[in-house]
């Protein structure tokens, strides 16, 4: 069994070496694919905070992905058309500046996470799965009929938003941004797992009654995890929208929620790099299997089934065995 630490290093290595190779060989599309993988990974790392640490099976994380996407879409749309976003009570104009868009995405996702979390955490088990799904569907149908921002057609942003000092339209530049954010979030996540909050949350997932008898509120811990989880997935949504220069209600669909969950499961629930492996494998399969067969979803389905039935702990679990204690 390989130490998880070494495997994580190898995975990070893949995320560094392949793009550099692609840059040298002038294969910009490979960089675009890696960017896609990095962004999916970020979205799934977000879900993993709720799912892996908090035990919250959210089938509605597309809500945050979409909110992030629309944060980008709406701000950039107003900047692109030179129309104010809001005139009253204060004049707010759009923006094409990525850091601003990201902050907006994070704040909006946090607000949504707070509201959805407060209501959803009244339930548990299957009911929690279903109420998060219901919130996702609400946002999905709302975005379809919100004609001011394109409705079903979505919003197209003609030129990728800007980041000071970089030309974001160059694939390697944008990739650098995305991978930096992914690494930053992974670092925060690795600290979070070992922090007092992480330990309390971990216990709240396993034995909420115990957490309560030491005087802590397990629901509040889970709510905090749900909000954090949402903000990270929201940030990923903003990046994804900028990768495509386009947002549409698809980002809100329940299939998107399912796919984000699939990334986490393929890699390994609760493992720091699980979502990263999952996203990488998914994008690779999509590219290679998709090239081989029209019906590649069948193979994806079989792989998933195999992992659920026979592979405890996803791919990382298969390679490294049971998770080690955080010492």
């Amino acid at each position: 069994m390989m130490r998880e630490y070494y495997l994580n290093t190898i995975i990070l290595g893949i995320f560094i070496i392949i793009p550099i190779w692609a840059f040298i060989m002038d294969e910009p599309f490979t960089i675009t694919l890696m960017t896609r993988a990095a962004i999916f990974a970020l979205a799934a790392v977000g879900l993993n905070i709720a799912l892996g640490l908090g035990g919250l099976v959210s089938l509605g994380h597309a809500t945050f992905f979409g909110i992030g996407g629309y944060s980008m879409g709406i701000l950039a749309y107003h900047a692109q058309t030179f129309t104010p976003l809001m005139e009253w009570p204060i004049l707010v104009s759009g923006s094409k500046l990525m850091p601003l868009i990201w902050i907006n995405a994070v704040i909006m996702s946090a607000v949504a996470g707070l509201l959805i979390g407060i209501l959803s955490l009244r339930t548990s088990g299957v009911y929690f799965i279903m109420i998060t799904l219901a919130f996702g569907q609400m946002f999905f149908f709302f975005s379809i009929s919100w004609s001011a921002y394109g409705g079903e057609d979505g919003l197209s942003i003609y030129i990728r938003n800007s980041f000071p000092g970089l030309n974001t339209l160059v694939p390697i530049h944008y990739y650098t941004l995305c991978i930096t954010l992914l690494c930053a979030v992974l670092w925060i996540n690795s600290r979070l797992i070992k922090s007092p909050f992480g330990i309390a949350l971990n216990a709240a997932r396993q034995v909420p009654a115990r957490v309560e008898t030491v005087g802590l509120n397990p629901v509040r811990l889970k709510l905090a995890a749900f909000i954090m989880s949402g903000t990270v997935t929201g940030l990923a949504g903003a990046l994804f929208a900028d990768l495509n220069r386009f947002v549409s209600p698809t980002m809100f669909s329940w299939q998107t929620s399912g796919e984000i969950m699939v990334f986490v499961i393929i890699g390994g629930v609760g493992r720091l790099f699980g979502p990263v492996v999952g996203a990488l494998v998914f994008v690779a399969l999509e590219h290679w299997l998709g090239g081989l067969s029209d019906f590649w979803h069948i193979y994806l389905g079989l792989l998933l089934l195999g992992i659920v039935l026979f592979g405890r702990g996803g791919l990382i679990g298969m390679i490294c065995g049971e998770a080690r204690l955080h010492e």
Partner: protein, 306 residues
């Protein structure tokens, strides 16, 4: 808004609700007895519709088509239960969601592989096509009346089966206490397979019945699946009575919402905006209903309190 229109819309809502019930009944039984979330239930609905369309295309007989739908979906259900599902009973909900999500991918792409991407068609049999006039001067499609009748008949049959028969007693025992049925010496794995394929057959039947008034295509099961989940969550998971009431509630909310919401909004804003906002709201209406009910009663209307 005339009485005739209102009555017709209520009938539509009931018909929609009854069809949802056929889906939801299987889902809720499977969850109640085996504790399994089955996302692939929509695929069984699709299998029913496709088998019916294929057999109707070959033989031209609607009865044979329905029989084919029942057999094919029950068989598919039993097969899936034996190969995959029974390995999931002891896993957590997350694994169940994922494994059955995987089954959706396999079933959908498999169906597309066999039948292609174009929608199939299944026609209403001639004796049932066209409208009839029912008391009150309402003209209503005969086939939809037959759907309501068939659905009610099945609901009653299901109710009878659960309350009066041996199988029903075993099912209720299983819902209350899984160890008890083992203690009673009942063959659990046989019972589970039976329940699963019963649920599958109901879903397949719904698919075939509805397929005749809609188009039969890959992916037709998922929208219905989500609605069926909404239904059982509203009703309380595991409760057949809850599923029936939830189904009618969802059917009526959806149908009446899409008519009344725009009308209501027309009182406060101009017609065009009213129609647009009204229809957005009505497409969200059942999810808002579900959210509200869960916030009020976190385990649904007839769910068992934790």
């Amino acid at each position: 808004m005339t009485f005739v229109l209102l009555a017709e819309q209520i009938l539509n809502g009931i018909q929609f609700g009854i069809m949802l019930f056929l889906m939801a009944a299987g889902l809720t039984l499977i969850f109640g007895v085996m504790g399994l979330i089955n996302l692939a239930h929509g695929s069984l609905y699709m299998i029913g519709a496709f088998s019916a369309a294929a057999v109707a295309g070959m033989t031209g007989s609607f009865i044979l088509a329905l029989l084919a739908a029942l057999t094919a979906s029950a068989a598919a259900g039993a097969l899936v239960e034996l190969l995959v599902i029974r390995r999931l009973y002891n896993k957590d909900h997350l694994d169940q969601v994922l494994a059955t999500f995987a089954l959706i991918l396999i079933f959908s792409e498999g169906t597309r592989w066999i039948f292609g991407s174009f929608p199939l068609f299944l026609d209403i049999p001639d004796p049932l096509s066209g409208p009839v006039t029912i008391p009150g001067g309402i003209q209503y499609p005969l086939y939809r009346l037959v759907l309501i009748g068939a659905g009610l008949f099945i609901s009653i049959g299901l109710g009878f089966m659960i309350t009066k028969t041996r199988i029903g007693i075993q099912i209720r025992a299983g819902e209350n206490d899984r160890e008890m049925i083992a203690a009673l010496g009942i063959n659990i794995s046989g019972l589970y397979t039976l329940i699963f394929s019963l649920g599958a057959a109901l879903a397949g039947l719904a698919g075939a019945l509805v397929g005749a008034i809609q188009s039969v295509q890959v992916g037709m099961g998922e929208p219905v699946l989500i609605l069926a989940f909404v239904v059982i969550v509203i009703g309380g998971i595991g409760s057949i009575k809850g599923a029936l009431i939830g189904a009618l509630l969802v059917g009526l909310t959806d149908t009446l919402g899409s008519i009344f919401l725009p009308e209501l909004l027309k009182l406060v804003t101009d017609p065009s905006t009213a129609t647009s906002i009204g229809s957005s709201l009505s497409s969200m209406a059942i999810y808002i209903l579900m959210g509200a009910i869960l916030i009020w009663r976190p385990t649904g209307l007839f769910g068992i309190k934790p």
